[in-house]
């Protein structure tokens, strides 16, 4: 679509967009009718279970499944040999789905069975004999980078280094971003703060474990029902792993019980398909919570060094950072995003960021809401606040003085267009929370955050029904209310009532390819495509009205849900409503539909400012969040309630990561807390109401100005809370989670060094 048409739309007033209608799937979800991954069954269905490595690192000498296969009720056993060999992009995916010659982390799948009951499947797992040669392991990122660390992959030679290293290591790749000359910048500084930080791995913690129901018939055609953020990705990946034609696999996305990035890849789906193909029955696999923790994709743990210099009047002269992220057993940690976003909030002349993508004996990381950004923001925003404290400047004013704005050359390259960081800082400063009085042991923290947002491949069909209602087929799974937003945009564009549009997430055989629901892209991309599909349908509706009136099609315009004669015919005919045109469509040319296929570009970047007050109990080290404010630029909030929901949900996930959540590994390389009792995510009594302010600086790349909102909200919390805790406890915290023992230790160490007051 031409850019000017998009810009035109941004000054318009809206009738449906910006209101808060009930979501179309609301009643199903409050009555228990909505069907999630584990809620589907099929006649003759078997239960699939996965055998997992008890060792963090071991050579698999042999697997003997004969006893399991002989157990009555067992219908199939699969190992990696039952999948198609992969030499290309899916090489690591296959090995992660089912181990080959090595188990690379505790919980790594090594075989799977399908049996008539859960009890028989579990018994069969115990009968599979795996001959392991246990190898030395490493789980910590700094230890994995040490010269004598156990190697996960003998052929891993660090990329991005000139000349190429002569020996393999656990460092998959080195990334570098920035501009200017940081040494010159630091030479201009009057104050320099330099610190090292660590963040522990967190899990997305979606409440619904991965689940799927697979059925492959004797003709080689397959059906798969699963909870995923991207069923087209599941289809393409599974087809390749199983050596099937893409057309022979139809994937239907169930309702999805949370994802946050964790359901953007495959785990049990190809296994269920392989079992079904071998057994000749449908196979259902539902992960246990322990499996979810041990064998899906938590985020990276990290080790970060930051140096920031500034003049005493508050101008940052240089920023530098080194980021080390371990992403589990395979290359691909989000360190590149961490490095790119590190100083993205600031307008700096001299920046240098180096990132290392490191492998370790942990499950392969998957995306987690703004993957890579919360960790680097934790380190950098902590140092930014410390510099502000050192020069005696208000932390919001210090950020305002250095904030990125339109025209700023970002640290990762592009020059920003219209962005809303300054507006979020000003709104935070003006909010009553910024003036709330603080008591003893209480502290305030502020931090900013950035996320890129993505567009991507999108396909939408919009069908006009003969009764004047509209069926909207989308290909991006709805993980937080997006069907409501799409119905709003379709209704807005067509000029009809919200309730007259019904949105569904179509299966992979019914609609063209769509990228995954990720990168905060759905309301932007599927929204843009919905609007385009509606405009396409309007063109058809106008053509039909022209036929009905016997006038040229270009003499018809669409206004307020009606076709009207224009030009020389203006006023000659009564306007025709969408319903009136639809009713007779069978006699004016057949069905009416609008379509859009697009690789959406122009997703506007997003910024947020978070403000938090905490109280730290100096005796226990426990932190209570007293008040929390999220201010974020949404571009245009289509359904403000669900925008607020994204802000609040991201903030509370950040609170959990900042204060409590972490993957704890023993010396044996095994995860010690694979359950919600010991990996404790925030509960209702842990948090206060989460205040929100929606800033709307329209994104020129979307017809209504939408920017993605899903991810930015988890970027600032680690740092905002660290800044608040540091002020409350009187000591700078450099590791998350800031669990009570870590805070107590920091207080004790500060006392030993002459008393808190850092």
């Amino acid at each position: 679509m031409p850019l000017d048409a998009r810009l035109d739309a941004q000054d318009r007033s809206f009738k449906v967009v910006g209101t808060r209608p009930s979501r179309p799937d609301g009643i199903d979800k409050v009555t228990g009718r909505a069907r999630f991954g584990a809620d589907m069954s099929a006649p003759g269905m078997l239960v699939g279970k996965v055998l997992r490595s008890p060792h963090p690192h071991a050579r698999i000498r042999s697997i003997d499944a004969s006893a399991a296969e002989a157990l009555p009720g067992v219908k199939a056993v699969v190992t990696q040999a039952d999948f198609a060999t992969q030499d290309g992009d899916l090489h690591d995916t296959l090995i992660n789905v089912m181990a080959g010659d090595k188990a690379l982390y505790e919980g790594h799948a090594v075989a799977a069975v399908a049996a008539t009951t859960t009890a028989i499947a579990q018994k069969a797992l115990k009968l599979i004999e795996v001959d392991y040669e246990v190898l030395p392991h490493v789980t910590d990122v700094d230890a994995a980078m040490a010269p004598d660390a156990p190697l996960l992959h003998d052929d891993m030679v660090t990329q991005g280094v000139e000349p190429a290293p002569s020996k393999p290591s656990n460092v998959a790749q080195r990334h570098e971003f920035g501009h200017g000359d940081v040494e010159a910048g630091f030479a201009q500084a009057e104050v320099i703060v330099e610190r090292a930080f660590k963040t522990e791995a967190a899990h997305q913690g979606y409440i619904e474990p991965h689940a799927c129901l697979a059925s492959v018939g004797p003709d080689g055609q397959g059906e798969l029902w699963c909870c995923t953020q991207g069923h087209y990705m599941v289809r393409n990946t599974c087809a390749e792993l199983l050596g099937m034609d893409i057309s022979k696999l139809r994937v239907t996305a169930s309702e999805i019980g949370g994802g946050f990035g964790g359901k953007t890849t495959v785990f049990v789906e190809p296994v269920a398909l392989a079992l079904s193909r071998k057994a000749g029955h449908p196979v259902k696999i539902v992960m246990t919570r322990s499996e979810v923790f041990r064998a899906t994709g938590p985020t990276s743990s990290s080790s970060i060094w930051v140096k920031v210099g500034a003049t005493k009047d508050g101008r940052i002269t240089a920023g530098q950072a080194e980021l080390r992220y371990q992403g589990g057993a395979f290359a691909g940690s989000p360190v590149e995003f961490g490095a790119m976003s590190a100083f993205a909030c600031y307008d700096l002349e001299h920046i240098n960021v180096v990132g290392y993508d490191v492998v370790a004996n942990r499950p392969k990381q998957a995306a987690y809401r703004a993957p890579g950004a919360p960790m680097s923001a934790f380190a950098i925003e902590s140092v930014i606040s410390e510099v502000a404290d050192k020069i005696g400047m208000d932390p919001v004013d210090f950020r305002l003085k250095n904030a990125a704005k339109e025209g700023t050359e970002s640290a990762y390259g592009p020059t920003y267009g219209r962005i809303g960081l300054i507006e979020t800082l000003e709104a935070a400063k003006a909010h009553p929370n910024y003036q709330a009085p603080l008591g003893p042991n209480q502290g305030r923290g502020v931090a900013c955050g950035f996320w890129f947002n993505f567009g991507g491949q999108t396909c939408v069909n919009l069908n006009i029904n003969v009764d004047g209602t509209v069926a909207l087929a989308l290909g991006t799974p709805d993980i937080g209310g997006s069907r409501a937003s799409m119905c709003q945009m379709a209704a807005e564009e067509l000029g009809i009532a919200y309730d007259n549009v019904r949105a569904i997430v179509a299966d992979t055989s019914s609609l063209g390819y769509n990228d995954i629901t990720e990168g905060s892209r759905t309301t932007f991309s599927s929204g843009l495509a919905t609007i385009e599909a509606a405009r396409d349908a309007i063109t058809r509706l106008c053509e039909r009205a022209a036929i009905m009136w016997g006038i040229p099609a270009d003499a018809v315009v669409w206004e307020n849900g009606h076709a009207k004669p224009a030009g020389p015919n203006a006023g000659d005919f009564e306007p025709l409503s969408l319903a009136e045109i639809a009713k007779v469509s069978g006699s004016t040319g057949g069905p009416i539909a609008g379509h859009c296929e697009v690789n959406a570009e122009g997703a506007g970047v997003s910024f947020a400012t978070h403000l938090v007050d905490v109280e730290v109990d100096p005796e226990t080290g426990a932190t209570e969040v007293l008040r929390y404010l999220v201010v974020q630029d949404a571009g245009k909030a289509i359904h403000p309630s669900y925008v607020e929901g994204q802000y609040q949900g991201g903030a509370v996930q950040g609170i959990g990561w900042a204060l409590n959540e972490e993957y704890i590994y023993g010396e044996d390389g095994r995860l010690q807390n694979p359950g919600f009792l010991d990996y404790r995510i925030p509960v209702a009594s842990d948090v206060p109401m989460i205040d929100t302010v929606i800033v709307e600086i329209p994104n020129p790349g979307h017809p209504y100005g939408v920017r993605g909102v899903g991810e930015t909200s988890i970027v600032p919390p680690l740092a905002a809370i660290a800044n608040a805790v540091s002020h409350a406890a009187g000591v700078r915290m450099t590791q998350v989670p800031m669990s009570p023992p870590r805070i107590l230790k920091a207080i004790d160490e500060a006392k030993a060094n002459g008393g808190p007051g850092a």
């Binding site: 979501r23 409050v30 009555t31 999630f36 409440i207 996930q653 919600f676 009792l677 009594s685 948090v687």
Partner: protein, 159 residues
């Protein structure tokens, strides 16, 4: 394996089912009776997604054996609405956008009903502590707590 015959009452209806000794009430509801509204988020009583009311008491169905339902009364999310008429909590959850993905929602609704049955005028703190056994990863709890408080206020007014 020996199966056990269980005669119970579910959402007011007499129900018989067979289950194995190791099966939980949640397994029986979901896999034997097709009542999939209660979800298994953890299987260890930590997440509350399988909350049901057993003889008037809020329990995690994953921590109750299927055989234990013999002669007792079970209330599940499927019985919360009165036919087409939503329970006020259900309507308020929709009105307040108190759900995003919705997988924890049945558990929250059953738990919240159990709270309001006991305490028609809970404080925000009481709501937060009563619902502390139910995990939600999407909403940050803000809109859930508001929906429950608002329901309680409306129901008091209606009395």
């Amino acid at each position: 394996m020996t199966t056990i015959k269980v005669s119970t009452t579910i959402n007011g209806d007499p129900v018989d089912y067979l289950c194995e000794p190791q099966e939980t009430l949640l397994d029986a509801l979901r896999d034997r009776l097709g009542l999939t509204g209660a979800k298994e988020g953890c299987g260890t009583g930590d997440c509350g997604a399988c909350s049901v009311i057993l003889d008037g008491r809020l329990v995690c169905a994953c921590l109750v054996m299927g055989a234990e339902a013999e002669g007792r009364a079970v209330e599940t999310i499927e019985g919360l609405a009165d036919g087409e008429e939503l329970h006020p909590l259900q309507q308020k959850f929709i009105d307040h956008a108190a759900l995003q993905c919705g997988v924890c929602t049945p558990g929250f609704l059953v738990a919240a009903k159990s709270l309001l049955d006991r305490n028609p005028d809970p404080t925000e703190t009481e709501v937060r502590y009563w619902l502390a056994g139910n995990l939600c990863r999407c909403t940050g709890y803000d809109k859930i707590v508001r929906a429950v408080m608002d329901t309680a206020a409306d129901m008091r007014e209606a009395r």
